[in-house]
């Protein structure tokens, strides 16, 4: 394998990893704060993808510009889902919370998926922008514009989330609630509002990931669960307490998958990802970026 083609493989892994990172950060955020696994996260991602597709096919809107529609729409859907469903589950404790959150979010997965089939049909849709397939050639390595912009957006979103969480009061309230929700209440934080906003923020992150997935791969109603699983692998890699750590962990998974795909064949790409997942669980159960 030439150096160029190895570099090309690395770069493509990086691009894919950026999407993994964004998809996983939303799931990690909701998991870290609400302490429940939202299996329907991938469905929210799928809905965000459709927002991009319809904005493109009806108004001819550039998919990256359509983030301006997808993000607020999914934020609203997140608020509604929290009010209608999740705020009841957040209040539960122990085993009751674990079982109910899994059951309910899995149920929602089926509902949203079938709703999408009914509304959008089961066809796979793609977005063909004028600059698709065009790229920037850097020392023999091709950087397609769509993927380059996607990675840039992923990085910007990660930095923005870091700023929100560590440098603003609403963000610090989110981190405090994730650390110890009773201590957060004693500091004067309305934790149920934090739960609602966090869920909506998680949905918005899913929507961004959905846009990037639609631009690069295309979209159909059934893709949700695949992305939930991918995001789940990434947050275990990162460590379940680490919200921002999901981004580098996503990049890592993307690169490892791409490189192993190139060396031992793409059939085993997913397997290598899962092997790493198991190794981390066995050797470093707190995750790569987690604290004990």
């Amino acid at each position: 394998m030439s150096i160029e083609s190895f570099a090309q493989t690395l770069v493509f892994g990086l691009f894919v990893g950026g999407i993994y990172g964004i998809a996983a950060m939303g799931l990690a955020l909701v998991f870290g704060v609400l302490k429940m696994l939202n299996i329907a996260h991938g469905e929210l991602l799928m809905l965000g993808g459709y927002a991009t597709f319809w904005a493109f096919s009806t108004f001819g809107m550039d998919p990256f510009v359509s983030l301006g529609i997808g993000i607020p729409v999914l934020f609203l859907i997140g608020l509604l889902l929290d009010r209608a469903v999740y705020h009841r589950i957040v209040r539960l404790v122990g085993e009751e919370k674990i079982k109910n959150s899994l059951l309910v979010s899995f149920g929602l997965t089926l509902v949203i998926q079938n709703l999408a089939i009914w509304l959008f049909t089961a066809d796979e849709r793609t977005v063909q922008v004028s600059y698709a397939g065009v790229g920037w050639n850097l020392l023999g390595v091709t950087l397609p514009y769509t993927r380059l912009v996607s990675l840039l957006i992923a990085i910007i979103v990660t930095l923005a989330l870091n700023y929100l969480l560590h440098h603003t009061y609403p963000g610090k309230a989110i981190l405090a609630t994730a650390e110890d929700f009773e201590a957060a209440e004693l500091a004067g934080i309305n934790i149920h509002r934090v739960y609602m906003m966090t869920f909506a923020l998680g949905a918005s992150l899913a929507s961004i990931a959905g846009t990037l997935v639609t631009v690069i791969y295309g979209i159909s109603p059934s893709i949700g669960i695949i992305w939930t699983l991918k995001a789940l692998i990434v947050i275990v890699l990162a460590g379940t307490g680490s919200i921002l750590g999901a981004f580098p962990a996503g990049i890592l998974l993307g690169v490892v998958e791409a490189v192993s795909g190139a060396f031992i064949g793409s059939t085993y790409r997913e397997v290598v990802g899962l092997v790493i997942f198991l190794l981390v669980l066995i050797l470093r159960p707190q995750g790569l970026f987690g604290r004990n």
């Binding site: 309230a173 004693l186 500091a187 004067g188 934080i189 934790i191």
Partner: protein, 242 residues
């Protein structure tokens, strides 16, 4: 002294087990009031009821003329009633500074946070030195200082402390009681739960004794320090021979 905090007829339970039975007590403005009693007497439960973390079965908690028992915890903080919880409950993964900033989350404290922060750093210079360190890397005594500093950031009118001396070295306990006295001198009313009964009674204007969920005694700190039953049960004196 005016009536300030008024707890009246509070009953509370965890599931089928009743933890508090008809508990009533008062704290006047500017006082230091202590609550002593053995482990499992319900002291922490009472604190949880007063801060809105636990819903009582019946009874009222009032601050002045305002009901506290109908408010969620975060609105009680907004009234200036602030608890330093047992076990400190810091945001361990966040920095010392972030913990302090979160202490001033309430609207009434947020605008004044820079001034308050300066004051807290004057009281605990060590927190200023370690402001960018993660809270869970501090020692036990430093963590207790941070927990109190975080509470002070909320500009308490009534500062409640649940077992602030638990597990700390005597010198640090001294330091912490000094700070409590200092805050009281500056006009903050103090409600203190302590297992270190002697220290608490020496400091307090008045005290209540809670046993098995019931208030079984009250008096000024001095009275209780010299009360035979209290001396035997809490201060380690052997019964006087007859």
């Amino acid at each position: 002294m005016t009536k300030f905090l008024d707890v009246h007829g509070v009953n509370a339970s965890y599931g089928d087990i009743q933890a508090l039975w008809d508990v009533s007590l008062k704290v006047n403005e500017g006082e230091i009031v202590a609550l002593i009693g053995p482990n499992g007497a319900g002291k922490t439960t009472l604190m949880r009821v007063m801060t809105g973390l636990h819903q009582p079965l019946s009874g009222t908690v009032k601050l002045g003329n305002a009901d506290l028992h109908t408010l969620p915890a975060y609105q009680i903080v907004e009234k200036g009633v602030i608890l330093v919880p047992e076990g400190r409950r810091l945001f361990g993964g966040l920095t010392v500074l972030e913990n302090l900033e979160l202490g001033a989350y309430a609207r009434r404290a947020r605008d004044l946070r820079f001034r308050t922060l300066k004051r807290v750093f004057e009281i605990f210079p060590l927190l200023s030195e370690r402001q960018n360190q993660r809270a869970n890397t501090l020692s036990g005594g430093q963590q207790q200082m941070l927990a109190i500093g975080r509470a002070l950031m909320g500009l308490p009118k009534l500062l409640m402390l649940d077992e602030p001396s638990l597990g700390l070295a005597p010198m640090i306990v001294e330091n912490i009681f000094e700070v409590v006295k200092l805050m009281n001198n500056q006009g903050v009313t103090i409600f203190l739960v302590e297992q270190n009964a002697r220290r608490a009674l020496e400091l307090a204007n008045r005290a209540y004794i809670l046993e098995q969920g019931r208030i079984v005694g009250k008096g000024t700190g001095k009275e209780l320090l010299h009360n035979n039953e209290v001396r035997q049960a809490y201060l380690g004196f052997a019964p006087t021979p007859r």
